[in-house]
Amino acid sequence: MPAADFRAAAGPALADPQLRANFRRAMDGLMSKRAAVFADRDEWTALRSLGATIRARSLLQLPDLLERLEAKLTENGVKVHWAETIEQGNAIFKQILSGHDARRLVKGKSMVSEEMGLNHALEAEGIEVVEADLGEYIIQLDHEKPSHIIMPAIHKNKQQIARLFSQKIKDAAYTEDVDHLTGLARRVLRQKFAEADAGVSGVNVAVAETGTLVLVENEGNGRMCTTIPKLHIAVMGLEKVVERLEEVPPVLSLLTRSATAQPITTYVNMISGPRRPGEKDGPQELHLVILDNGRSRVFADPQLRNTLRCIRCGACMNHCPVYTRVGGHAYPGVYPGPIGKILTPQILGMETAGDLPHASSLCNACVEVCPVEIPIASLLVRLRSEAIRPRRQADSGPGVVRGAGSQRDAAETWTWRGWALAYRVPLLYRLTSFLLSRFGWALPQRLPLLKEWTTVRSRPQFAPQTLHELARREKVSNE
């Protein structure tokens, strides 16, 4: 289940050596493999600049592109639905499924569906939802949420998975052999694909020009979900659209190389409609659910809008020193790591996720690897200031971050005001530094106002003389 409080969840995660070892090993591997596939700096720079331009252009034309996408998909025989909230999105799913009396679902990996809590909503209606991506299948068996957006079960090692399979899969003996474990999942899930009433998938890129939904994957479970059942429902966040088909190759190249260092995934599945007359397979009905869930609000701010460029490659988390140490489960919401730190507070609101933008040293590693040039560090700084925006400026109107100002705290506000005043008024500055140098030793080791700092660090030792005094004594001119 999503952690409610990053600070509270980070502590136990940091103290778990197994978890930290699993993440450390995985992230080190991903970083070095990614560096190798982008070894040609000129190519990386040119490709990244093209990717950033494509995504920037998509956002500049977003409402037009969504309308063109809808029109083209409709022409191709796809039914398009719009959901402002996750409740609306789940209701659309329920309505479509009940119209087909669909009780058994197979599902490809989709972070938007995680965001919607779709499985939970459908299971409450008595519908069986089977996650078919191997990683998602593993965590579904263990009732967990993904700890990584590309490799959802990365927090588990093979011993843990072997135990899980032997407990949860019928007739499965304990084995740590990865091929054998994979074979077990294949056996169970093949049956599910053949029996399913409907398939659910996400969308990596939607093309307005041709009305095409592009999905990338290695396993073939996504193709199963979109090919075998008679009904296919795809779901996407409204930012996923691009204008033209020719924009797909550079975006996919950046996506797969950034995510897993692959030049391409095993399958690139381009779907432009349901089964046509005469075709022997493919779904007879195809639906697309376009989800807003706060995205149009993010879109309203020209700086924060850049959050929506994201193509969900996960490179930012792979390179994040915070993510590597606490893992994905410590983050509230479903998107962990740097992208989660900028997206989740905007979606869930600052009241619930206002501490996330602080879970960063602003080291800039995520910015350096982001394939679409999202200025994550600047957005983190911006969100930190949004969290403490004076309340009178913070209303709920468009372009204002949800819950802005909710982290504002009188003691902190006055401390900073005092700090600012001391730096503006020379006499006050001298007085303050004089008092701290002479009487700072008398301050207690744990300061109530600075407890965030002093609980994990020693109180600073004050010099017995101020810098100004030392400079005067050493006869430094222009002090």
């Binding site: 093209l50 409402p63 990865v178 294949r186 041709t210 409204l238 095993t266 690139v268 381009m270």
Partner: protein
Amino acid sequence: MNSARNSILGRLRTASGKEALPAENFAVVAPRGWSAEQRLDRMRRMMEAVHTEFLDSRGEDWLGQLQGWLARENIPGLIYAPATPLGRRLSTGWSGSVPLIAYDRAMAEWKEDFFGQAAAGITGTRGGIAETGSLIVWTDADEPRSLSLVPPVHVAVLEVNRLYDTFWQAMREQKWAAGMPTNLLLISGPSKTADIEQTLAYGVHGPKRLLVVLVDGE
């Protein structure tokens, strides 16, 4: 949910400005200027790196070679799509001990057998992409989507004169945007996963093996 549509689009329109669109430079995904030989070399190297097998039948009787391969690998039957150009060649020229099975009806009519008993499926390709080592599989009424997905072995026939340097080049020269099929696929190896400790395992949900038969172009 028309009201949801209108309010979402309304909010997006209110926030949209009149900024000029930045120009795109596709040079980085444009053709590399490789020779035919370089393209084929790269195609093989990229695909073999992810466990694709090749049967080089250029200048040979590829039907006979394929029959030999299937027999050697003890594959009990080969499912094919009879109405494609490839299917017509197969049905007229096939003579080996391994039976050909026609995919000539809707999948629903034989789903259980297809899932339970299919050993291998053969499809054509619309060429390949050398840079990434990818086959272009264009499905339609004659070429089913599931033929390259459900059977544990996928055999793909690739004409060596239909290789492109890059994905971008292939889609432009074949004019995909002018008319997409319901399902267009790039296939770059057998099905695989690394979801358990990032250890690669092949054949998770799709084919466990992919054989590319290289043939001379028409």
